[in-house]
């Protein structure tokens, strides 16, 4: 076992583990976990978060641990490399990596194991790589720490690594800092640093979260490669489609317990446990259009609230229309960039217009212009046929009630000093509800519409769950009985089952209240699930527009094709 731990200084170090692995594969599994429990001690009390977890991982295989936030999947991963965190209490019957008993490894030896035998990939390289250092040095550090080669050797190796993870022009990239790289390159660099020494075990914790679909596909492909080369992968994810893509076997975790485990396709095709089924059903996409994602029934919207639908029944024509919007921004260094370039769209009453695009495609800016929070440099927006973006705020105010917004992160859109009641009362316009009792009545009505109980009123958003917060945000958006609701990545931050509930809610609300949605998301699945018409944006330009089903089944523009393809690759398999 010491033999394993002595860092191998020979330049061929990267080759040897491969041979060894062939040996091991036949024999005992590379990673073997029996009865792993992890808890955190606070004020003397140990609060368990992982219960009696057991699995074996043969070399060259991938096990996925699936679960929603708080299921304990991340802690499990960290526990496997002895970094479960402050005050962590770990116990295990058996915890072995190859022939090393991980339960008996002192800190010094851990260092030799981490990065050398176990590579760990975290989500979001923007924060997972030191923002102050060039990525090259981060990767080189991994080599240096394990005494790999000489300085020049390491430099060459870094370039090779970057190249091997598909980073173009490694020489340049190595000298850049994470902030200067695109999300995709960044994530690749991170992977390069984690896999620098070609570890036999790869722990990937949400490696694709917060990445654009196209990048996701590439990253997963990378991991797949390593797997084929014989590395074992523990994949942590909440995203079943990702799992489906890579995993040989799946562990479904809930509340620290494994509720179901088995071969990937087994579990994903016909799940036995009710929770797994829910998760699977909750994934939105082409198949789910028009059906409910969540088993629990959405709230029944009181018909009394339906009046807002009628209020503008008389009018026809689009509720929201944008013509050739252009918006430029000036960067601190003085360079100008065009965020939105000639975007036009019509949002018809009672329908949903989805805008899909990757980060930086200008979709959010478009939304802000639609909300008249940003004024376009050129072009115009009209709301309910009346001038909107062109007129001064004072004249807009009267119309503000007709259009409202729900953000990705509701918390930051709530004044931290206000509790739910104050937030909602503030949103209920005094002109329709002059006296206090009527206003409170309206607030209760709103809660009912979004399926919340009165008990949330005194609570502060901080203390609410993500789903509840988003419901409060929606309730606030509905308060003024708007005809247009702008949903800017409104469900992107939510766990899949919660997301399902919110999506269902939105569908019902639209039907009952005759709302029109401007729905912005980077997630094709969600867009597909909800939208009637779709706008595909790239670099501030609309590259394709049209009927949702048509676009997502028969895309024309190459970019759209690429998007859809990457989505497919994730879904099938």
């Amino acid at each position: 076992m010491t033999e394993v731990l002595v860092p191998d200084r020979s330049a061929h170090a990267t080759q040897r583990p491969a041979h060894r692995r062939e040996r091991d594969a036949a024999a005992a599994p590379l990673l073997s976990v029996r009865g792993l429990s992890v808890g955190f001690r606070r004020n003397g009390v140990v609060r368990p978060v992982v219960h009696d977890l057991s699995f074996d991982l043969p070399a060259g295989h991938c096990v996925a641990i699936v679960g929603e936030s708080g299921s304990g999947k991340s802690v499990t991963a960290r526990a496997l490399v002895g970094l479960a965190g402050e005050g962590a209490v770990l116990s295990a019957e058996r915890l072995t990596l190859g022939d090393v008993d991980l339960t008996a490894v002192p800190e010094r030896r851990w260092r030799a194991i981490r990065g050398r035998r176990v590579g760990f990939i975290l989500q979001d390289a923007l924060v997972s790589l030191d923002p102050l250092r060039p990525v090259g040095r981060e990767i080189e550090e991994a080599l240096r720490l394990h005494g790999w080669g000489s300085r020049p050797e390491r430099h060459r190796k870094v370039l090779d690594l970057l190249d091997s993870v598909g980073v173009p022009d490694p020489g340049l990239r190595a000298r850049q800092r994470p902030g200067e790289l695109s999300g995709g390159l960044r994530q690749r660099a991170l992977i390069a640093s984690a896999l620098a020494l070609d570890p036999e075990l790869i722990l990937a914790d949400e490696p694709t979260t917060a990445l654009d679909v196209t990048v996701q596909a590439q990253v997963l492909e990378l991991l797949g490669q390593r797997k084929r080369q014989g590395a074992s992968v523990v994949l942590i994810s909440h995203d079943l489609s990702v799992v489906a893509h890579l995993a040989d076997s799946v562990l479904v975790m809930k509340g620290g317990h494994i509720v179901e485990s088995g071969p990937a396709d087994e579990v994903l095709r016909n799940p036995r446990h009710e929770y797994t089924r829910r998760l699977l059903k909750a994934v939105p996409g082409a198949a789910t259009r028009g059906r409910r994602l969540s088993p629990d029934a959405p709230p029944s919207v009181p018909s009394s609230a339906a009046r807002s639908a009628e209020r503008f029944a008389g009018l026809d024509g689009p509720v929201l229309e944008a013509r050739n919007l252009v918006k430029r921004f000036r960067a601190p260094d003085g360079s100008r960039s065009t965020a939105v370039d000639g975007v036009s769209f019509r949002l018809e009453r009672g329908t949903t217009l989805g805008i899909v695009g990757e980060s930086g495609s200008g979709k959010s800016t478009t939304a802000r212009i639609a909300l008249a929070l940003e004024s376009p440099d050129a072009g115009e927006v009209t709301l309910l046929g009346q001038p909107w973006s062109a007129v001064p705020e004072s004249r807009r105010r009267a119309l503000r009630g007709r259009i409202s917004v729900v953000y990705q992160d509701p918390l930051s859109s709530f004044d931290p000093r206000w509790n739910t009641e104050r937030i909602l009362l503030d949103a209920v316009s005094a002109e329709y509800y002059p006296d206090a009792r009527a206003r409170r009545g309206r607030v209760l009505e709103l809660l009912e519409q979004v399926g919340l109980g009165e008990e949330v009123l005194p609570r502060f958003p901080l203390t609410l769950s993500g789903g509840q917060r988003q419901r409060v945000a929606i309730a606030r958006a509905l308060a003024s009985s708007p005809s247009v609701l702008v949903l800017d990545e409104a469900v992107s931050a939510l766990d899949v089952s919660v997301q399902a509930q919110i999506l269902d809610l939105l569908v019902v609300l639209q039907r009952e209240l005759g709302l029109s949605y401007l729905f912005i998301s980077h997630d094709l699945g969600v867009i597909h699930h909800l939208s009637d018409t779709v706008l595909v944006m790239k670099d501030g330009v609309v590259v394709e527009r049209g009927d949702a089903v048509r676009i997502l089944t028969a895309p024309e523009h190459p970019y759209t094709r690429q998007l859809v393809r990457s989505l497919r690759t994730l879904e099938q398999s």
Partner: protein, 296 residues
């Protein structure tokens, strides 16, 4: 199964522990001992402020020439000064003046800062720019120099100390408030309020200012202690309240020539000042971290 408690190792590997969303160390729900200690200290001084005689029945001015320069003892807990006055009594009775100076200075300072800071953040380009410059200039003045000048103009007195320290420390707070207001103004909830169609003035009143001013609660606590230190520095330079008033800095100043023979005259008053500064700072920090948790 065999339970192997690995706590020590994991405790040692704490740095890896945090998750990205966590800001700084979590605090235990039970009141931290340092907080308790700090509160106790403050309570003591609060009593000293309200009813000094309750803690020290003696007359802080009474001469006792026979017992001059007695070291601390059961009879005189903190010893006596060159005229045989009881130091403990004087310190307790000095609390009122010292604390009021500290609080007064802080209030004044924050008031000034609030005006300047709001202007700098909210006023028109020209006014804001000018105010910024003014703050900048004031900031370039070492607090003590400002104080020296003010004392020279107004003559030394408790009131002067309040003004000197208040004005001297205001610019920094002004900057802070400006920063707070700006960040509040760029916040999501302000945008949300705009989207709801609230008028600008209303948003300023109901969202921006309240949220900007919130941290001042903490700053206030933090600042009182520091103001006392500053004020006492003035007294120490002989520019404070007139002796024989038992203001702490003045005590220290009077005691310093006896330092080699009667250490207590210098050490103890200083200790008291430090203790108080410590207490207020501690409480301030706790409020601050409570607020941060509230905002995160």
């Amino acid at each position: 199964m065999t339970i192997l408690d690995r706590r020590p190792r994991f405790a040692r590997t704490a740095p890896g522990g945090g998750t990205p969303t966590r800001r700084g160390p979590r605090r235990s729900p039970r009141p931290a001992p340092d907080l308790v200690a700090a509160v106790l200290v403050l309570v003591f001084f609060a009593v000293a402020l309200a009813a000094p005689s309750a803690l020290a029945p003696r007359d802080p001015f009474a001469l006792d020439l026979v017992n001059a320069l007695r070291p601390p003892s059961a009879e005189h807990w903190f010893g006596t000064d060159e005229s045989g006055r009881d130091l403990y009594t004087r310190i307790v009775h000095g609390a009122r003046q010292s604390l009021l100076i500290g609080v007064g200075a802080t209030v004044l300072s924050l008031a000034i800062a609030l005006v300047l800071g709001s202007l700098a953040a909210l006023a028109g380009r020209f006014v804001a720019g000018t105010v910024n410059r003014v703050v900048e200039v004031l900031f370039a003045f070492p607090t003590l120099l400002l104080a020296l000048l003010l004392v020279a103009v107004l003559g030394p007195s408790a009131w002067t100390q309040v003004v000197a320290v208040g004005v001297g420390t205001a610019p920094g707070y002004a900057r802070m408030i400006r920063g707070q207001i700006l960040s509040a103004r760029n916040s999501g909830y302000v945008e949300a309020a705009v989207a709801l169609g609230h008028p600008r003035g209303w948003i300023l009143r109901t969202h921006v200012l309240p949220n900007a001013i919130r941290p001042l609660v903490a700053v206030f606590a933090l600042s009182v202690g520091q103001s006392i230190v500053w004020a006492s520095s003035l007294s120490f330079l002989g520019l404070g309240v007139a002796p024989p008033a038992p203001e702490w800095g003045a005590l220290l100043d009077a005691g310093k020539i006896y330092v080699t023979q009667a250490w207590w005259l210098t050490v103890l008053p200083g200790l008291v000042i430090v203790l108080l500064a410590l207490a207020t700072t501690t409480i301030g920090k706790h409020i601050q971290s409570a607020l941060e948790k509230g905002e995160k």
